[in-house]
């Protein structure tokens, strides 16, 4: 196969590309330039997409003996990921930009361009597996549950999964991948992992949003509407958040309070006790199924965070919506988050959470 290996400059994508070469594929490395004004050097493990990362990717490609290009996808990235991220926060939701990037950049803008240029698949360093099934390619969790990244890929449709290649899906651990990089002589073997959101290199999401959205002062209230404090923008909060609420009055019972809901129009952040966070049902929209779309209620496991736990649930498609009844309550579930649906290790699909209902106590 002709394989387009997305190479970030990190260890995972370099080893993934190496394994694709070993498997006998005709591999071309591409580094996606996602930022019009990239920083020159990385600072510790923060951020990515610096010129240094592009050079690291180039060195890895040189060592593998594969052609290497830098493609400018900064315009798509700005529109589809960064602006979406800001708009979602402005609307009181909690987006996952890595999910959006996979959905619209790596397995859309990059994949489509690659296919048009004659490639058969996009290869990345994600920890997930594409396995053959009776109905075609299936997306599954990685062999290493601790490192599994299938959640951020659950947004791919069947066609995207069919064109995806994840050579690290069977890797026993991240440490083994680093050891493999070392053995292959890849200079990125000891490079620290990237954390945080790549387009917010200092990790300060609240300041980033404040700069984009400006100050929008409002009130922090309890469930009865009593004012407990003030804030400078609802976008600084996410459901389930406990720290940095800026409350001036302690709760009558002295227990910690958490963000329960965010209403950006009235600029109101509602807080309450932990037990009010427990969600028993959720609704989600914009569903994408890489498995056949379920008809009628189906037993699934759902996961609402990249490294969250999967809980059993019953999901049912109802028109544009997916209704999910949780068998065990989840906490800190925010509208805007992706809910991924699993059957065993297989990813069935995902949807964007639009609303939640409390667990019945």
């Amino acid at each position: 196969m002709r394989v387009l290996a997305a190479m970030s400059g990190g260890v995972d994508s370099a080893v993934a590309a190496a394994r694709a070469v070993d498997a006998g594929h005709d591999v071309v490395g591409v580094h996606m330039a996602l930022n019009r004004a990239p920083g020159t050097l990385r600072t510790g493990s923060r951020g990515c997409c610096t010129i240094e990362d592009a050079l690291d990717a180039r060195r890895a490609a040189d060592l593998l003996g594969i052609p290497f290009y830098v493609w400018d996808l900064s315009e798509s990235f700005l529109e589809e990921v960064v602006e979406d991220f800001v708009a979602e926060y402005a609307a009181g939701r909690t987006p996952n930009p890595c999910v959006r990037c996979n959905e619209r950049i790596k397995f859309a803008a990059l994949l489509d361009k690659g296919i048009a240029l004659g490639f058969d698949a996009v290869c990345t360093g994600h920890y997930a597996r594409v396995l053959p099934g009776p109905g075609g390619a299936e997306l599954h969790r990685a062999a290493d549950a601790a490192k599994d990244q299938s959640y951020v890929l659950a947004v791919l449709d069947a066609d995207q999964v069919a064109h995806a290649m994840f050579p690290l899906g069977e890797a026993p651990t991240k440490e083994r991948v680093r050891a493999e990089a070392e053995r292959r002589g890849l200079p990125v073997a000891r490079k620290p992992d990237s954390h945080d959101i790549c387009f917010i290199p200092d990790g300060d999401t609240r300041s980033f949003l404040a700069e984009k959205l400006g100050e929008e002062p409002g009130e922090v209230v309890d469930e009865d509407g009593a004012v407990l404090g003030a804030h400078t923008g609802t976008y600084g909060f996410t459901v389930g958040q406990r720290k940095g609420l800026g409350l001036t009055r302690p709760a009558p019972d002295g227990r910690p309070r958490y963000v329960l809901s965010i209403e950006p129009v009235r600029r109101t952040v509602t807080v309450g006790p932990a037990e009010r966070l427990a969600v028993g049902e959720l609704r989600a929209v914009e569903a994408v199924w890489s498995a056949p779309e379920p008809s009628g209620p189906v037993e699934v496991h759902v996961q609402v965070r990249a490294h969250g736990e999967a809980v059993p649930a019953v999901a049912e498609v109802a028109g544009e919506e997916v209704r999910v009844a949780l068998r065990a309550p989840l906490t800190g579930v925010a509208p805007g988050q992706t809910v991924a649906f699993y059957a065993g290790t297989r990813v069935l699909g995902s949807a964007t959470i639009s609303g939640t209902s409390p667990a019945r106590g």
Partner: protein
């Protein structure tokens, strides 16, 4: 990127095919004469500044090379300042002339540079503006990329006493257009202002006579005419004040300190001698270029030749064929041609390998969309008919594919866009909401 070892030699591309190297303007293969001269000099010990016999032998190599280089470009030996290449020569000329002129008269802060200059000149000028108080003014170019002398005339008429220097390239590195350097030098001199010319693309390819040109300073680079990378010179008219950039041993009459590189000097002189020895070389290159341009036009509807349309040495570099292809992105074309074993360039500067719209094309009046599909093919001393054949065979399918890729990126975005997020609406569900 290594190209062909010499005429008639071939290299394997990663696809297993034969590589056609059409990027001579980036760097042209080392001429065998230069390699031989380099190897002979490099095997001898001796610092040209040393007084013992090894030093004297090395000094003789440098001076003989200096004389040969000077004779080849119409300069006197004492006017040659060896440098590490074209970029250093440009930096030395712009900063060195600016500081010297400003030191003599603090009112002289204006720097007049062509809008289509190489970044080695433009970024120097920008640095002088940012750090040294220079007032940089860009001289516009016409649709063919030729500098507008009326603009220069107007700038000089508007307070020539404030102008530190003029810098105008001999021939443009992207679109190949030959610039009116002699006429510009005349205008500058009439106003008492020195002129520098970046002749990196011209030396060895066009007749260059430093004395006759009237320029006060001229940059040249060895690897553009078959010499080694990392070698070049600034020609500096006698008596032109210049503040050095590098201080140290006082070599090159104090204009450029640093141990003299005898092997590089030998190889540079040998390469230039070889380039000029065969008067038919330029004509052969130009004939190949003409066939390439005609073939590209025939193969690709909507392909436009940029730069001067008159294909002779008075107007355009003999090896240059710069085109834009509507509806394509340069990086897609570059990949597809590379995969087909055809090596060329988008012609513009990169940031971390990302082609940006060329400032030269924008200065010529193209919009960013037109500038996106730019390709520069450049031929040189080792180019063959087979190279042109390879490019002509590859270009049609490459453009067709690149156009599809450009279209796919647009449709994929539209297809996968979710319904617009209802910005400003309250978050749909809340914990307070009962079901």
């Amino acid at each position: 990127m290594p190209g062909r070892g010499g005429r008639g030699t071939t290299a394997r591309s990663y696809t297993g095919g034969v590589t056609a190297y059409l990027d001579h303007a980036s760097t042209t293969p080392l001429r065998p004469e230069a390699l031989e001269a380099y190897a002979a000099a490099a095997s001898l010990a001796g610092n040209p500044s040393s007084l013992h016999s090894s030093g004297r032998r090395a000094r003789a190599a440098v001076e003989e090379s200096r004389e040969a280089l000077a004779a080849a470009v119409g300069a006197r030996p004492a006017e040659v300042v060896w440098t590490s290449g074209g970029t250093e020569a440009d930096n030395l000329a712009l900063k060195g002339l600016y500081w010297a002129r400003r030191d003599a008269d603090p009112r002289r802060r204006r720097v007049l540079v062509g809008a289509a200059e190489h970044h080695a000149v433009l970024d120097c000028a920008a640095w002088l503006a940012e750090h040294e108080g220079a007032d940089v003014r860009l001289l516009p170019v016409d649709a063919d990329g030729r500098a507008d002398l009326d603009a220069l005339r107007a700038e000089l008429a508007d307070g020539a006493g404030e102008v530190a220097l003029v810098s105008l390239m001999w021939a443009n590195n992207e679109v190949g257009t030959v610039q009116p350097v002699s006429a510009a030098a005349e205008l500058a001199h009439a106003a008492g202002v020195p002129l520098h010319t970046d002749a990196v693309q011209a030396v060895g390819h066009l007749p260059v006579d430093f004395a006759a040109s009237g320029a006060d300073a001229l940059s040249l680079s060895a690897h553009k005419f078959g010499g080694p990378v990392g070698a070049g010179a600034l020609l500096l008219r006698r008596g032109t004040p210049l503040v050095p950039l590098q201080h140290g041993g006082g070599q090159e009459l104090g204009a450029r300190s640093g141990t003299l590189d005898a092997p590089a000097a030998r190889a540079t002189a040998a390469a230039l001698a070889a380039a000029l020895a065969d008067p038919g070389e330029g004509e052969r290159t130009a004939a190949l270029r003409e066939r390439l341009v005609a073939g590209l036009r025939a193969a690709v509807p909507g392909l436009v030749l940029r730069g001067d349309p008159v294909l002779d040495a008075a107007h355009r570099l003999p090896g240059n064929a710069h085109v834009t292809v509507a509806g394509c992105e340069g990086d897609s074309l570059l990949y597809l041609l590379d995969a087909a074993g055809v090596e060329c360039s988008t012609g513009s500067a990169c940031q971390a390998g990302v082609p940006r719209p060329s400032h030269v094309l924008l200065a010529m009046g193209l919009d960013e969309g037109e500038a996106a599909g730019a390709l520069r093919f450049s031929l040189g001393w080792s180019s063959t008919d087979a190279d042109v054949d390879a490019a002509l065979a590859a270009i049609g399918p490459a453009v067709e594919r690149a156009r599809r890729a450009s279209g796919s990126a647009r449709t994929s975005r539209a297809r996968r866009r979710r319904p617009a997020a209802a910005t400003g609406a309250p978050s749909a569900g809340t914990a307070a909401e009962a079901s």
